[in-house]
């Protein structure tokens, strides 16, 4: 008999959908079907049952092939690499649980590593801006129940957060938003006509790279000042019209994404988006929220922030105090300047998502990658340690994009003998203790 596990948390994006239903086989080993998840979430759950999964650590040989080794050998090699290195980059953390992070940070403190998460190539600019000017934000529940003016600026939830629009931002009916989509006015600002723009009432096509100018124009219009004829390709009449509509709303929210953080200006784009939000609060209630990508990248920021005071790129190599300086302790910069002598990747794939110069630099150093699946990072690493998938084969705490902690669930058993992130990191931590005690 199969059984259905209800209210499963989807471990893909920062929306952390909590209504997924999964049918599993009676021996608790195989996922039969997935309901309520988006295409990406369903693929993630189904992937656990695909044949060809690596179940034991693999060490790269001189000829480039991989040889299977035991978990004990892998733990020993990893611990020795960490202890011998003067400065290790410990990157990733965005797809694992907060419990695993806390064990990882303990190791980093001992060996003087640099802990960085995926925000470094994602919403890092947003975090810099939030440190500079603060953030007037809310929870997704408030958006669902109250928001009647929703702006998607430089983000494309139709592709990156597929159920965000149906669960929170466009379609759902809430306590004060009983008409659902009809009661909301949706704006999409982007340089291309995305699938999110198709769902919006108003599409504002900004010239690529002119977001700062357009945000500034919105602020100017909100204060009733004069604008040039067009700003970033948008006519001034449209800007005045939209600003008046926004002022007339009861509760507004700006969701922003990589269109602001990856373009020229970076943190300054977010600075001014937050400043616009603050300005709009003179007229109505307005909020702003980052569309966080990885499902627990927010959690990594939270754990690092309450342990060390900084949300990413935390340098613990001085042992007695934590340092943070973007451009200096951020992963891509460290790698292109060759300032680390070992790499430890966990729960992410810098091999696929870092610019190639930093990947090449990583491939020249002793590198360990801890990941359930084969990816670009495992293939350039000296050691690949597979682990159970958090949120599918083991539970753990995660933070949603609005900083709400949610406990993820175990759905099926991991393959026999496979360690979880917490178990593996605890073993590495113990071995590091032994090696450092012997020094």
């Amino acid at each position: 008999m199969t059984k259905v596990v209800k209210d499963v948390i989807c471990p893909f994006c920062g929306t952390l959908c909590d209504d997924v239903e999964i049918t599993v086989s009676d021996d608790n080993k195989k996922i039969i079907s997935v309901r309520n998840a988006c295409a990406i979430g369903a693929e993630k759950f189904n992937h656990t049952s695909l044949p060809g999964r690596v179940t034991r650590p693999r060490m790269r040989q001189p000829d480039g092939t991989f040889k299977e080794v035991s978990y004990d050998e892998a733990v020993d090699w990893t611990a020795k690499t960490l202890v011998n290195a003067r400065k290790t980059l410990m990157y990733g953390w965005a797809s694992t649980s907060c419990q695993a992070m806390s064990v990882g940070h303990e190791i980093a403190e001992k060996i003087g590593g640099i802990v960085d998460n995926c925000a470094t190539v994602c919403h890092g600019s947003s975090l810099i801006a939030i440190q500079d000017v603060g953030v007037p934000s809310c929870t997704l529940g408030e958006v669902k129940n109250r928001a009647d003016r929703v702006i998607f600026w430089g983000c494309n939830p139709a592709h990156a957060h597929p159920r965000h629009m149906s669960r929170y931002s466009i379609f759902p009916r809430g306590f004060f938003t009983v008409k659902g989509h009809k009661g909301r006015k949706i704006y999409c600002v982007d340089c291309r006509y995305t699938d999110t723009a198709r769902c919006a009432d108003e599409f504002i096509q900004v010239q690529q790279g002119y977001d700062y100018e357009l945000l500034n124009a919105f602020r100017t219009a909100a204060r009733g000042e004069v604008l040039p004829d067009t700003v970033g390709g948008v006519p001034k009449e449209k800007i005045y019209e939209i600003v008046e509509e926004l002022k007339g709303g009861r509760f507004g929210v700006i969701f922003f994404g990589m269109g602001l953080t990856h373009t020229m200006g970076r943190n300054h784009n977010i600075d001014i988006a937050i400043a616009l939000t603050r300005d709009m609060n003179d007229f109505t209630k307005f909020n702003i929220m980052a569309m966080r990508g990885h499902w627990n990248v927010t959690g990594s920021g939270q754990v690092l922030a309450w342990q060390y005071g900084f949300p990413y790129a935390v340098d613990l190599s001085r042992r007695t105090k934590a340092r943070y300086q973007t451009g200096e302790t951020t992963s891509v910069d460290l790698l292109i300047r060759n300032e680390v002598d070992a790499c430890f990747n966990i729960a992410t794939d810098p091999g696929a998502h870092f610019p190639i110069d930093s990947v090449v630099s990583m491939s020249k150093k002793p590198t360990v990658t801890i990941d359930p699946h084969i990816n670009m990072s495992t293939e350039i690493s000296d050691l690949h340690i597979p682990v159970a998938m958090v949120g599918v084969e083991v539970g753990g705490c995660a933070y949603r994009m609005d900083n709400v902690p949610i406990e993820t669930r175990k759905v099926v058993d991991p393959p026999d003998g496979m360690l979880t992130d917490v178990e593996l990191l605890t073993k590495i931590n113990e071995r590091v203790d032994e090696l450092m005690g012997a020094k």
Partner: protein, 135 residues
């Protein structure tokens, strides 16, 4: 003489890239979703190519062969898009302007037809750059 055009490049997520990534980075789905460049039909005409032709895309840091396709989400002429992944990152400049954030969107690329040049697999794209043996 081979034609060349210069376009403004952005790299973004697409749902097909997301599904391909979760199906496995070595899967055909991932290859199909990410080893492409979306270009406006007018730009293809300027370059003198049909859709679904291989092109070589070069930036200040490197070059890569991908397949030119018509955009699913409409682009303006002059703008092009490669979904995030190892192919896109072969040409993304790593300089971060002291923010930690590389230039994933808004950099110039030169595009030329490369009809007979093969597209490397995801792993080979990275291994080739790192000087590791390719099977």
């Amino acid at each position: 003489m081979t034609k060349k055009i210069t376009l403004n490049m952005i790299t973004c997520r697409s749902i097909f890239q997301g599904v391909g990534m979760e199906a496995g980075k070595t899967s055909q789905k991932y290859f199909n979703a990410c080893s492409i460049i979306e270009m406006h039909p007018e730009d293809m005409k300027k370059l003198g190519i049909w859709k679904n032709t291989n092109v070589r895309v070069s930036s200040s840091v490197g070059s890569i062969v991908v397949k030119a396709v018509e955009p699913r989400e409409l682009l303006v002429p002059g703008l092009c898009h490669i979904p995030m992944g190892p192919w896109a990152n072969r040409i993304v400049p790593a300089y971060t302007f002291s923010t930690g954030e590389p230039c994933f969107k808004g950099f110039d690329v030169e595009i030329e037809p490369a009809i007979n040049e093969p597209i490397l697999s995801a792993i080979d794209v990275v291994k080739d750059a790192c000087g590791l043996p390719i099977k």
